[in-house]
Amino acid sequence: MKFGVVVFPGSNCDQDCAEVLRDVLRQPVVTLWHQETSLRGCDAIVLPGGFSYGDYLRTGAIAKFSPIMGAISRFARDGGLVIGICNGFQILVEAGLLPGALLRNVGLRFICRFVTLRVERADTPFTNRFRPGQAVRLPIAHNEGRYTVDAKTLPAIQPQVVFRYCDAEGRITDDANPNGSMDAIAGLTNRAGNVLGMMPHPERASEEALGSTDGRLVFESMLEAYAHA
């Protein structure tokens, strides 16, 4: 399964994503510069973390106009798998490929630590290797992770929520919510389920040496989904 990792000016997690996909998952990977207009036959697209365009104006606000986003929009519309991690998630909401917005953390601090997530849906192309309700540990590293959506849309998107911040026992509590995200939403898909955005970094939890391999299951799920497509 060929993965394309998009690189914007200011992306800084592209190498980590590419290395995990290539060396841990052992899949072909290419990096796609933001100005390219072809996805080069990739079967899945990764929008990695970082600070595209320095987060100027708003995180992801300018990246959404990069030339490659046209091809990615069409790919997503046609059912292609797209995963946006951290800044990638921010770009996807700005581009309208996912609902909502990501605002400044309520505590106004950049938070860089492990969190526990509860897997809300184990039937998506990104979570089929998890069990529903499973508590997993992934690291976050962000300043603008507060998932926000208007009051009318919040109930409508609940079926799309894939990960929620939780405590070690899998309970959704205020203390377990690092950034004030509505309904503790850490990651969700679009309605069709082929586009995922998540603030935590699965690529930083794919190797034993980094403290958790729970993140690897996200990529393994994508392989599983692709194999049975």
């Binding site: 104006l57 606000a61 106009f65 700005e94 400044r104 309520v106 505590g107 208007d150 004030g180």
Partner: protein, 80 residues
Amino acid sequence: MKVKVCITLKPGLLDAQGKTIKGALESLGFKGVADVRMDKYLEIELNGAHAAASAKKEVERMCQKLLANPVVETYRIELG
């Protein structure tokens, strides 16, 4: 021609920075601060001469397309 744009968080959304500034003011002894909202202010200098209406319309399109995030922000435009 100069156009001034103010981009604000929609009411009802927590403005974490504004809240923090309010706390800082209070700890400095300023009583009676009910609320603080912090906005973004841009000054856009347009080339050449523009009729007011067309300048405003042009900057409105800028706001809708890039400058403001319609999910969480609104904007005000002031000419000159």
